[in-house]
């Protein structure tokens, strides 16, 4: 009767130890996660064609003229246009099929012999993604605000195009 009792109690103790030691190993859980990165050899934007409104004869009251991405100019009455206007043309290179967007600087001025003129309200025909060869070419239009009695002469200015990756 005594022998049976001691024989049984080591068996119970072993069972309890197996639980304590075995539990952390059995319950440790390992999972594989995924990690990735995309290497880009730079995003490059180059201007292929400068924007030009060509020759403009404004009425004394001035006004806004709008150059479209297709290269046409429209305005209110009284304006005379000569020459061949051109939308700005840009070539961007990024990553194949990657989404992209275009944004422009603000507060741009075109300067010359008379008061500076404001250039803004930019439009563009950029695709929403780079193509399969990582290219995205696009045209840029804008609105030029001509002041009343604007002094005749050559006016030039700059604007910044940002291709957002």
């Amino acid at each position: 009767m005594l022998a049976r009792a001691t024989g049984r109690s080591p068996a119970l103790a072993a069972g309890a130890l197996a639980l304590v030691l075995g539990t952390p190993l059995a319950l440790a859980t390992t999972e594989r996660g995924r990690a990735s990165a995309t290497i880009v050899q730079g995003v490059v934007v180059t201007e292929a064609v400068p924007m030009s409104f060509a020759a403009v004869a404004p009425p004394p009251s001035g006004g806004a003229i709008v150059l479209s991405t297709a290269g046409t100019i429209r305005s209110s009455g009284g304006f005379v246009f000569r020459g061949t206007p051109a939308p700005g043309a840009f070539n961007a290179r990024g990553l194949p099929h990657h989404p992209t967007s275009v944004s422009f600087s603000t507060g741009n001025l075109v300067t010359g012999p008379g008061p500076a003129m404001r250039l803004g309200a930019f439009t563009n025909n950029a695709a929403p993604t780079f193509d399969g060869t990582a290219k995205m070419d696009f045209a840029v239009g804008a609105t030029l605000v001509i002041n009343p009695n604007q002094t005749p002469g050559q006016y030039t200015g700059t604007y910044a195009v940002t291709v957002n990756f």
């Binding site: 999972e31 594989r32 996660g33 990690a35 990735s36 990165a37 290497i39």
Partner: protein, 165 residues
């Protein structure tokens, strides 16, 4: 006379039932202590978000992008564009128990160019299961080759997360 005999047999029946209940309660008491050790909960680890270093432009010399468990990555000799996200994980276990996260020393991610090493894994996991379900993040350091060697494209690989008590 008939009435007296009926009332005595009812009394005997009641006594028998009382003894039977009493002996069962006495036997049950001796077994109560052994149940405590058996209470355990298996840990389940789940990847909710894959780790991504985003878009990276290599520099003239080899560089790194350190992606912390939370917050913005830190670039050295590379240009980081956007798109990074730390690995997001969930572990379920027993509330109040220690939570030990073990991460790899180093892994590689492969793509169109030379394999890139990811190492110095880090986590924001708490030291204990603050509840039965704990969310945590895993970051790492990406080693990028030079612009001349690290071919553009997507690189991916795996890493392991082990959770233990």
């Amino acid at each position: 006379m008939i009435t007296k005999m009926q009332s005595r047999s009812l009394a005997l029946a009641a006594a028998t039932i009382a003894v039977g209940l009493g002996s069962q309660q006495a036997l049950a008491t001796s077994q109560t202590g052994t149940a405590k050790a058996a209470i355990v909960a298996a840990i389940v680890v789940t990847e909710n978000t894959q780790m991504n270093f985003g878009f990276v432009i290599p520099g003239a010399s080899a560089g790194t992008l350190v992606l912390p468990p939370t917050g913005a990555p830190t670039a050295t000799n590379v240009t980081y564009l956007n798109g990074s996200v730390a690995g997001a994980w969930n572990a379920t276990g027993t509330s109040g128990q220690p939570l030990v996260v073990t991460l790899d020393a180093s892994d590689t991610i492969t793509g169109p160019g030379p394999a890139m090493t990811i190492d110095t894994f880090s986590t924001d996991a708490p030291a204990t299961f603050t509840s039965g379900s704990v969310n945590f993040h895993v970051g790492a350091t990406l080693h990028v080759g030079t612009a001349a060697t690290q071919t553009a494209g997507n690189y991916s690989g795996t890493y392991t997360v082990t959770v233990n008590y």
